[in-house]
Symmetry: C2
Subunit: 151 residues, 2 copies
DNA sequence: AACTTGTTGCAAATCATTTGCATGTATGGA
DNA sequence: TCCATACATGCAAATGATTTGCAACAAGTT
C-alpha cells in the first residue's frame, strides 16, 4: 500500500506548501501515485492505481487541497470535460488535444515559462500555476476529414 | 430577435469554417450574442441574452459544432468547472483566476501568440486554438491569508 | 413544391464532482 | 506515552452542467 521511501515522506513533510496538511495514510498513497505517474491523471485513474481501498471522494478532496496549495496542477480538458492532475513540481508538460479523436500530444516546451504579464504587476496578482491546452487536429484526423468532408 | 445585419450574415455564410453549417434562426441568434459579447460567456449566460425562446440543449449543440470548427473558443475554468465561450475571431484574452475568490483578471497580452512548438511539427498537428488560464492569488486574498493563516 | 438530411424542443439520462454526517485518526501538548 | 481536538474519511445521496433519444421541423437542393 504505502510504498513511500523515507526520503519522499520527508519531502512531503517539509514542503512549505504542505504546512498544516495532515499526512494521513490515504494522502500518502495518493501522493505516491502522483509521484509515480508518467502523465496527468484523472481522479478515477488515480483511484485505479491506488493499491488501497480509498473512497473516490477522498481522492477528490485531497486533490482539491493540493491544488489550492499549488502543490498539484489541475488541467480541464474541454474535449471531454474531465480534469487531470499532476504534481506541479514535476517537469510539467502541456498538451495538444485533437478536437476529433481527443488524443493528447505533449508539447516540447512550455510557452509560459519566463513569461511575465504587465497586468499581473498592475493588479498585484501572484501566479502560482497555469493551465494551457492547445486544440486542433492531428495528422490522422486531418487526413480522414479530407477524404470525408465535414459534417 | 434576429438583429444580424446583412454584412454579418454574409460573414457567417462565407466563413470557410462554417461551410456546410446550416444557418437556422436559432444559430443566427446565438452567433449574434457571441458577436456582441464583451467577455466569454457560459452557455447559460448566452441563453439569458437571447431574446428568443431557444432550448438550452440547442445552445450547447450549436456551441459544440462551432468549437469543433474552430469558430468558437472554449475555456474551462477549474475553479468552478464551467465552460465559457467566445468567438475565436475576436481579440481573445486570457485570464488570471484567483484560487480563493475565483475572480478573473485579464492578461494584457497572449503569451501563445507567435509560439511554435517543435513537437507540433514533428507529429504534424494543426493548432487552431488554445486555452490558457493562470492560477494564483489576487492581492486581496493574499492580504487576507496573511492575517488568517492557511487551513 | 417535394426531398433529404441536419436541427430543434423536451424531458430524461449522464456522470464527474461535491456534500452531509457519523465515525475515525494525525498531530501537538501535558 | 496518552489525550484532546480539529481535521479526515467513507458512504450514500445530492448537485448541476452537459448530453442524448426521439418525434416533429425546416434549411438548402433538385
Amino acid at each position: 500500500m504505502d510504498t513511500l521511501s523515507g526520503k519522499e515522506l520527508l519531502q512531503f513533510r517539509t514542503a512549505p506548501q504542505l504546512k498544516g496538511f495532515r499526512l494521513t495514510r490515504e494522502r500518502r498513497v495518493i501522493l505516491n501515485v502522483l509521484l509515480e505517474a508518467e502523465k496527468p491523471l484523472t481522479a478515477e485513474e488515480i483511484l485505479e492505481r491506488l493499491q488501497a481501498d480509498i473512497a473516490l471522494s477522498t481522492v477528490y478532496r485531497t486533490l482539491d487541497k493540493l491544488v489550492r496549495r499549488g502543490y498539484v496542477q489541475q488541467t480541464l480538458l474541454s474535449t471531454d470535460g474531465h480534469a487531470v492532475f499532476e504534481l506541479t513540481g514535476k517537469a510539467h508538460r502541456h498538451y495538444m488535444v485533437c478536437l476529433d479523436c481527443h488524443r493528447m500530444f505533449p508539447l516540447a516546451s512550455c510557452p509560459i515559462k519566463g513569461f511575465h504579464d504587465r497586468s499581473a504587476e498592475e493588479v498585484d496578482f501572484e501566479v502560482v500555476d497555469h493551465s494551457l491546452v492547445l486544440y486542433g487536429y492531428c495528422h490522422d484526423c486531418r487526413a480522414r476529414r479530407k477524404s470525408l468532408g465535414s459534417q
